[in-house]
C-alpha cells in the first residue's frame, strides 16, 4: 500500500517537474525543476531496488551535472526569448522525431519480449540476494579491478592533458608569498612622522 502510494507520489512529481523544466520562462527555475525531477527519479529507483543507480542520480546528476548547468546558465549570456522564437516553426520536425523515438521504443520492447535477442549469458553472474551496491563493488574490485584502474589512468591523462595544453605562467598576475607576508613587521610598513604645520606631506 505504502509502496504504491510512494510510487505515485514520486512519479507524479517527476512528470510535473519535467514538464515545468521545459515550460518555465526563467532558465534558473528550469534547472531547479530539473533537480527536483532527478531527486524523484532517484526515489523511483529506490522503489524498484536499484539503490546504486539512485545514489548515482543524486551524487552525479544533482551534485555535479545540475550544478554545472546552473553555472553555465548563469555565466553565459543566452537570450532565451530568441531561442524560443522558432518553437512553432520547428514543432512539426520535433513531433516527427518524437514519433520516431516512440516507434523505436515500441519496436525495442517488442523485440525484447519475443526473446530472440540472447542476452541470457552473463559473464559475471551475481547473487540475487546481494544488495546491488555490494554486488557492483565486489565485481569492480575483483574481476574488473584492472579495467577500473585503467579508467582511473584515463582520467589522469585527461587531467595532465588539460593542464599541459592550457596552463601558462602568467607574469602579470600577483601571487601570494606567504613567508614574506609572515615575516613582515609593523615597523617595515608604518612610520611615525612629526609633521610640521604648513608644509606638504611627504609620501
Amino acid at each position: 500500500m505504502i509502496h504504491t502510494l510512494a510510487f505515485y507520489l514520486f512519479a507524479a512529481v517527476v512528470v510535473v517537474s519535467a514538464a515545468l523544466t521545459i515550460t518555465s520562462r526563467n532558465p534558473v527555475h528550469a534547472v531547479l525543476w530539473l533537480i527536483l525531477a532527478f531527486f524523484n527519479a532517484a526515489g523511483l529507483m529506490v522503489l524498484v531496488g536499484a539503490e546504486f543507480i539512485a545514489m548515482l542520480l543524486v551524487i552525479v546528476y544533482v551534485g555535479a551535472v545540475a550544478v554545472l548547468f546552473l553555472f553555465v546558465v548563469m555565466m553565459l549570456d543566452i537570450d532565451f526569448a530568441e531561442l524560443r522564437a522558432g518553437f512553432v516553426r520547428y514543432l512539426p520536425l520535433g513531433l516527427v522525431l518524437a514519433v520516431a523515438l516512440v516507434a523505436e521504443i515500441l519496436i525495442a520492447v517488442g523485440a525484447w519480449s519475443t526473446g530472440r535477442i540472447e542476452l541470457g549469458r552473463r559473464i559475471a553472474p551475481i547473487d540475487g540476494a546481494l544488495p546491488n551496491i555490494e554486488a557492483i563493488g565486489h565485481l569492480l574490485y575483483t574481476r574488473y579491478l584492472y579495467v577500473f584502474e585503467g579508467a582511473g589512468l584515463v582520467l589522469l591523462v585527461a587531467m595532465i592533458g588539460a593542464i599541459v595544453l592550457t596552463h601558462r605562467n602568467r607574469t602579470d598576475s600577483h601571487r601570494q608569498n606567504v613567508s614574506r607576508q609572515v615575516a613582515r613587521r609593523s615597523k617595515d610598513a608604518t612610520r611615525n612622522v612629526n609633521q610640521p604645520v604648513g608644509q606638504g606631506v611627504e609620501l
Partner: protein, 485 residues
C-alpha cells in the same frame, strides 16, 4: 589465482603506471628544470617494464578471469612498443631545444609512459572492455602529444583533428563492441569466439556480423588503414617531429597487435567473414599509400603515406589468418618500426640556417655531397622501404607474401606485389634527390653524436648484417604467433 600472482602477471603495466605517477609528482615539484631528469628516468622505467616482461608476464598466463593475457604474443609486441617509445623520448630534448617557441615539458615523457601503459593493455586484452580502455588511454595521451607545441598552429590543428576523428572512430568501435556483446552475451574473447562458431545453439545471428564490421572499422582507423586513413597525413605533418616518429611506430604496432588478437582470438571462427574486409583494406592501403605519396612535397606527409602503405602490406599477412600469417605480420612490424624510426631520425637532423626544421623534400637535395653518411642512411631506409633485395625490407615483404600464398590467396599476393611498384617510385625519387640534385641552399644540418649512433644502428640492422638476426627473430615471431591459436 591469488591476488599477488595476478599482479605479477600484469607487472609491466604496473611498472609503467607507477613510474608515470611518481615522475608526475617529481615534475610537479621540480617544474621545468626537472625535464631532463624525468626524461632519463622515463627511459629507465621503460627498460624496467621490459625486464618485468620476463617471468609470469610472458608465461602465457591469464589474469582477472581471462581479461588480461600475458602470452608470448603480447610480450613480443610490448618489446617493440617499449623500444620505439624509448627512442621517441630520447630524441625529443634536442628537437625542442633547437626549436624556438615551445620548450620540452616534463609531461612529454610522462604522457608517452601512460600511452605505453594503454598500448600494453591493448596487446594483452582478452576482453572487449580492456581493449577499449587501453585504446582510449593510448589515444588520449596521443591527442595531447600531437598538440604539444602550443604556439604552433599546425600542431594545434593536428591535435584537434586527431581528437575529433579519433573520438568518431572510438564511437564506431564501441558501437561494434556493443553489438557483439548484445548478440553474444559476453565481452570475453574466448566466449565471443564460441558465439561466432555458433556453439550457442541455432545459427549465427546477423547482429554478430554487423558487430564484426564495426569493430574492424574502428580498429582500421587506429592503424590508419584505407578507407579510415584521412587523418594520418595531417596529423603526422602537424605534430612535432619526435611525436610523429612515435605515432608512426609504437601505436601502429599496438593497433595491429590488437587487430590481430581480435581477429584471431575473438573472431577466429568468422575468418571467412573478416578476411574480405582485411583484403580490401590491405589492397586499398597499398594502392592509395603509394599513389597519393607521389605528389607530396613534405617529407613528413610522405612518410605518413608510407606508413599507410606499410600497414597495407602487414594486413596481407593477417588476411592469411594462419599462424604463419600472424608471424609474418609481427616480423614485418619489427622491421617496419626500425625503418620508420631511422627515416625520422634523418628528418630530425635537417635544419635550415635559422635553425628551423626542414620538412620539404627539396631541402634534401644533394645531401650526399655535404653529409654523405646521413644521405647514405636515408638511402638505405628508402631502398629498404621500397623492398629492394639485400635489405631487410625485402625479407619483410617476402614473408607476408609467402604467408598469403600458403593460405591460397594468390590473387592478393600478386596484386600486392604489383601495388608495391608505384611505392618504389617515390622512395627512389628521394634517393635521386639525395644523390643527383644540385645541393639545396640554406641547409645547415646539425648532427648529434647520440642520434647519429642510433641512426647508424638502425641502418646496420636493416643492412645485410641484419640477416644474422633473421633466424632468431623468425623463431620468436613464430612462438608469439602460435600463442594466439
Amino acid at each position: 589465482m591469488s591476488y599477488a600472482s595476478q599482479l605479477a602477471t600484469t607487472l609491466p603495466e604496473l611498472v609503467l603506471a607507477a613510474g608515470a605517477i611518481v615522475l608526475m609528482l617529481v615534475a610537479a615539484w621540480g617544474g621545468q628544470r626537472s625535464t631532463r631528469a624525468v626524461s632519463i628516468a622515463s627511459v629507465f622505467v621503460l627498460v624496467g617494464a621490459g625486464i618485468a616482461l620476463i617471468g609470469p608476464a610472458s608465461s602465457g598466463a591469464t589474469a582477472f578471469g581471462g581479461m588480461y593475457r600475458a602470452d608470448a604474443f603480447a610480450a613480443y609486441a610490448k618489446v617493440l612498443i617499449y623500444a620505439a617509445s624509448a627512442i621517441a623520448i630520447m630524441v625529443a630534448p634536442r628537437f625542442f631545444a633547437q626549436t624556438a617557441g615551445d620548450n620540452l615539458k616534463p609531461e612529454y615523457p610522462i604522457l608517452i609512459l601512460l600511452s605505453c601503459t594503454g598500448m600494453g593493455m591493448m596487446v594483452s586484452a582478452g576482453d572487449m572492455l580492456l581493449l577499449y580502455v587501453g585504446l582510449e588511454l593510448q589515444s588520449l595521451a596521443a591527442y595531447v602529444l600531437a598538440s604539444f607545441m602550443r604556439r604552433d598552429t599546425r600542431s594545434a590543428e593536428a591535435g584537434l583533428k586527431y581528437f575529433v576523428l579519433g573520438a568518431l572512430a572510438s564511437g564506431i568501435l564501441l558501437y561494434g563492441i556493443s553489438l557483439v556483446y548484445g548478440f553474444s552475451g559476453t565481452t570475453l574473447f574466448v566466449d565471443i569466439a564460441q558465439a561466432y562458431a555458433g556453439d550457442l545453439g541455432g545459427e549465427r545471428s546477423l547482429g554478430l556480423l554487423f558487430g564484426l564490421v564495426f569493430v574492424f572499422a574502428g580498429i582500421a582507423f587506429k592503424m590508419s588503414a584505407v578507407p579510415f586513413h584521412m587523418w594520418t597525413p595531417d596529423v603526422y605533418e602537424g605534430a612535432p617531429t619526435p611525436v610523429t616518429a612515435f605515432f608512426a611506430s609504437a601505436p601502429k604496432v599496438a593497433a595491429i597487435g590488437l587487430g590481430m588478437r581480435v581477429a584471431i582470438e575473438a573472431m577466429g571462427p568468422a575468418t571467412a567473414d573478416w578476411r574480405q574486409i582485411v583484403i580490401f583494406a590491405s589492397l586499398a592501403s597499398i594502392v592509395l599509400g603509394a599513389v597519393a605519396a607521389i605528389g607530396q612535397t613534405n617529407i613528413k606527409r610522405l612518410l605518413a603515406y608510407s606508413s599507410i602503405n606499410n600497414v597495407g602490406f602487414a594486413l596481407v599477412g593477417l588476411a592469411a589468418g594462419t599462424p604463419e600469417g600472424v608471424a609474418s605480420v609481427l616480423f614485418y612490424m619489427a622491421i617496419y618500426i626500425v625503418m620508420t624510426l631511422g627515416s625520422f631520425l634523418v628528418v630530425l637532423q635537417m635544419r635550415d640556417v635559422a635553425g628551423r626544421p626542414i620538412e620539404t623534400i627539396a631541402g634534401f637535395s644533394g645531401l650526399s655531397r655535404s653529409h654523405p653518411g646521413l644521405a647514405a642512411a636515408l638511402a638505405i631506409m628508402m631502398f629498404s622501404l621500397a623492398g629492394i633485395p639485400p635489405l631487410l625490407g625485402f625479407n619483410a615483404k617476402l614473408e607476408v607474401f609467402n604467408a598469403a600464398v600458403q593460405a591460397d590467396l594468390f590473387v592478393l599476393a600478386v596484386v600486392a606485389v604489383i601495388g608495391s611498384v608505384p611505392g618504389a617510385y617515390y622512395y627512389l625519387r628521394i634517393v635521386k634527390t639525395l644523390y643527383f640534385d644540385a645541393p639545396a641552399e640554406g641547409v645547415a644540418v646539425r648532427t648529434d653524436r647520440f642520434e647519429g649512433g642510433l641512426l647508424a644502428a638502425t641502418a646496420v640492422f636493416i643492412s645485410p648484417v641484419g640477416w644474422f638476426l633473421l633466424a632468431p627473430l623468425g623463431a620468436w615471431t613464430m612462438t608469439a604467433a602460435r600463442s594466439l591459436f
